[in-house]
C-alpha cells in the first residue's frame, strides 16, 4: 500500500499522466526563407513579426490557455523545398495551421499541400494574384496583392500624365504577375500610355545591357518590380547610367523596398527622387494592437518597423483569433472561424471576401500609401507623402530631380 502510494506520488511529481493535454502548446508551422537563394531579409522580418505576435499572445495568457509554438522550416525560396517543408510540418510535426510564407512562387507550392491535407493557411506576403485565383477554402490572405498595387500605381501614373512607361519585373510569379496586372490596369485607366514590361533575372548582378537601350528610348517613367538585392543593383545602375531618377525619367518602385532597413546603405544617391508604393508609413493610422506591435518592435530593434512586421504579426493574430472563436484547433472549425473573421488587426479591421475570384478570402481594403524620397538617407517619417489614408493623391507635390 505504502509502495503504491509512493509510486503514485512519484508519478504525479513527474507530471504523469498529463492533464488531458491542457498545457501542450498549439503548433503553428512557418515556412520561410532562412538561406539563399530565397530572400533571407524578408524571412528575417517575417520571423521577427511572428515572434512579436507570439510574445504578445503569451503575455495575454496564450490561446485557449495554451502557449503558441512556432515551428520554422527553411524553404530557401524554392517551391519544391516549400512543398516539402509544409508536408513535413503537417504530417510529422502535426501543426494545426501554416503561416509566414513571403514568396509567391513558394506559396503557390505550399497551398497545394495545405489544400490536400485540409489545413488552414494564412498567407503573409505572397502578392501573386494566382494564390487567390486558386480558390482554395483553406487559404486566407492577409498579404497585399498584385492587383492592389497595379490599381494604386495605375492611378498615380494616369494622374502624372506620363506617356511612356517601362517596367522591369523579376522573373518570379510575383514579378511577372504584377507586370501583367499593371498592363491591364493601365489599358483601362490610362489607355494612351505606352507600357512595356521587361523581365530580369533576379539572380543577375549586372543590368547594364538592360539599362543601356533606355538611353535611346528615354521613357517618362521606369517602374521596378523586384525585391532586393536585385532591385538595389538595378536602381544603382539606372542612376549611374544617367537614366533614372532624372529630369526626364521618373523612377517608381512597385515592390515597396524603400522601407527595408538596409535600403539607404545600398542605394545612396540612386534613391533620391524615387517614388514608391508602400504598405506602411508612420503617418498611417495604427490600431491599438498595431501601436503595441510597433512600440515593442522599436524597443527591441531600435528602429521603425516595416510592413512585413505588421503582416506577419497579423497572420498569427488571425490564427489565434480563429482558434479562440472556434474553441478548437480542429482544421474545419478553424477554417470556418477564419471565414467569419472580423478582427481588428494592426492596421485596421480585417475581414475576408467570400466571392470566388481575384479577391477570394482576401483582406481587400489593405491600406497603402505613395511617397517620394526627396533626400539621401531620408527615413520614412520625413518622406514626401503623395497619397495615403486621409491624404488625397496629389502629384503636383512631386519633386523632379535637377539632372
Amino acid at each position: 500500500m505504502t509502495r503504491r502510494l509512493l509510486l503514485t506520488l512519484i508519478a504525479l511529481a513527474l507530471g504523469w499522466p498529463p492533464a488531458a493535454g491542457a498545457q501542450e502548446p498549439i503548433k503553428i508551422g512557418a515556412p520561410i526563407s532562412m538561406s539563399p537563394p530565397g530572400s533571407v531579409a524578408q524571412g528575417k522580418e517575417v520571423r521577427d513579426g511572428l515572434t512579436l505576435a507570439q510574445e504578445i499572445l503569451h503575455k495575454r495568457g496564450g490561446v485557449l490557455g495554451r502557449k503558441i509554438e512556432i515551428l520554422y522550416e527553411d524553404t530557401q525560396g524554392i517551391p519544391e523545398k516549400g512543398r516539402a517543408a509544409v508536408e513535413k510540418l503537417i504530417t510529422r510535426d502535426k501543426v494545426v495551421a501554416i503561416t509566414g510564407e513571403h514568396a509567391s512562387s513558394v506559396t503557390l507550392a505550399d497551398i497545394e499541400v495545405a489544400h490536400r491535407y485540409n489545413i488552414p493557411l494564412v498567407n503573409t506576403n505572397a502578392w501573386s494574384d494566382a494564390v487567390r485565383l486558386k480558390g482554395y477554402p483553406q487559404v486566407f490572405n492577409r498579404s497585399n496583392y498584385n492587383s492592389r498595387v497595379a490599381e494604386a500605381m495605375g492611378e498615380v501614373i494616369a494622374k502624372m500624365k506620363v506617356k511612356h512607361v517601362v517596367a522591369f519585373a523579376e522573373n518570379t510569379d510575383y514579378g511577372t504577375g504584377q507586370a501583367e496586372a499593371m498592363k491591364k490596369v493601365l489599358a483601362r485607366v490610362a489607355p494612351d500610355v505606352k507600357f512595356t514590361a521587361r523581365v530580369l533575372d533576379r539572380a543577375a548582378r549586372d543590368f547594364t545591357p538592360a539599362v543601356l537601350p533606355l538611353k535611346a528610348e528615354r521613357p517618362d517613367m521606369i517602374v521596378t518590380i523586384m525585391i532586393p538585392p536585385a532591385s538595389y543593383l538595378l536602381m544603382n545602375q539606372l542612376y549611374e547610367n544617367g537614366i533614372a531618377p532624372s529630369k526626364d525619367t521618373w523612377l517608381y518602385d512597385g515592390a515597396g523596398v524603400a522601407d527595408y532597413p538596409d535600403f539607404w546603405d545600398n542605394v545612396k544617391d540612386a534613391g533620391v527622387g524615387l517614388l514608391s508604393f508602400g504598405l506602411y508609413h508612420p503617418k498611417m493610422n495604427l490600431t491599438p494592437l498595431g501601436k503595441e506591435v510597433r512600440n515593442l518592435y522599436i524597443d527591441q530593434h531600435k528602429r521603425e518597423p516595416n510592413r512585413l512586421i505588421f503582416q506577419a504579426a497579423d497572420s498569427l493574430f488571425l490564427l489565434a483569433d480563429a482558434i479562440t472563436r472556434a474553441k478548437s484547433t480542429e482544421a474545419d472549425a478553424v477554417i470556418k472561424a477564419l471565414r467569419e473573421t472580423r478582427f481588428e488587426g494592426t492596421q485596421g479591421l480585417i475581414t475576408f471576401e467570400k466571392e470566388k475570384g481575384l479577391y477570394f478570402q482576401q483582406w481587400k481594403d489593405i491600406p497603402y500609401i505613395t511617397y517620394q524620397l526627396t533626400a539621401r538617407g531620408q527615413q520614412l517619417p520625413e518622406t514626401l507623402l503623395i497619397q495615403g489614408p486621409g491624404v488625397e493623391l496629389s502629384v503636383d507635390k512631386l519633386m523632379r530631380p535637377a539632372r
Binding site: 539563399p36 523581365v199 549586372d206 543593383l233 542612376y239
Partner: protein
Amino acid sequence: MLIVEIVFTGLLMGSFYALMALGLTLVFGILKIVNFAHGEFFMIGAYAYTLLVVWAGLPQVPAMLSAVALGALAGVLMERLLMRPLYTGVIGPGALRDEYAIIVTFGLSLFLINLSHQVLGPYPVKGPDLVAVSRMELFGMFVSPHRLLASGLAVLTLALIVWLIRTTVWGKRVQAVAQNRFGAAIAGIDHARVSALVLALSGGIVALSGALLSPLFHAYPDVGAFPAVKSFVVVVLGGMGSIPGSILGGLLLGVLENFGAIYISYEYRDTFGFIILMLVLLLRPQGLFGERAREV
C-alpha cells in the same frame, strides 16, 4: 553611340570577369582541381573591404589591401587543411582525387555561405566607392567613376600577375609544377609550397575582385554565385589553366553578353555565355589557349 557604349561597358565588365577567372584558372592550371568555393573567396573580399571601411573606419586603400591579404590567407588555409591531402598520399591516387576535390570545395562553399549568413546576417551591404561621386559624364556617356577606376585596377593586376608568372623565379617554379608536378619535385622544387603560393595568389586575386565590385554588386552571403558561374565560363572559353586565355575570354564574354542582351534579348543574357561555352566544348574542347591534355 550605342555601339561605343556597348563595347565600352562590355570591356569594363570583361576586365572584372578576367580578374575573377584568373584565380580559378591558376588553381586549375597548377593543382588540376576545380575550386567550387571560388565564388566564396569573392564574397570574403567583398565583405572584408566593406566592413573594414564601414565598421572599422579604415580608409579604402588599406581596407582593400587587407581584403586581398585575407583572401590570400584563406587560400593558404584551404591549401594546408583541405588540399594538401590530395598530393600527400592521404587521398588515394587516380580518379578519386577529382571527386575529393569536388566534394571538399563544394562543402567549403556551402559552409562559408551559411557561416556568413549566421555571423553577418542576410542583408546586402554596399561597398564604399573608391571615388566620392556616383556618376560622371565622359564623352557624352554617364559612367560610374568607381567602375572605371576598378576596371583600371583590374587590368593592372592582370598585367602584374602575368609579369610575375612569366619573369620571376617563383613564377617559373609555378610554371614547372603546372607542367609536371613529379618532374618539378625531382628538380628540387617544393611543390607543396608552390601550391600554397598559388592558392594564396588565387584567393588574393578573387578577393580583390570582390572588393572592387562590392560597391557595384554589394556584399552579401551568396554574392559569390555570380562570379563563380562567370569564371567557369571564362576559364573553359579561354582554355583550362591558360592565363592569357582567361584574360581574353573574360573580355570577349563581357562584350558578347552586352551585344546579345541588347540586340537579341536581355532575358537570355546568361544563356549566351553558356552557348559560347558549349560551342567551344564541341569545336575546340581545349578552349582558345588551353592545353590539349590534362596530364602528361
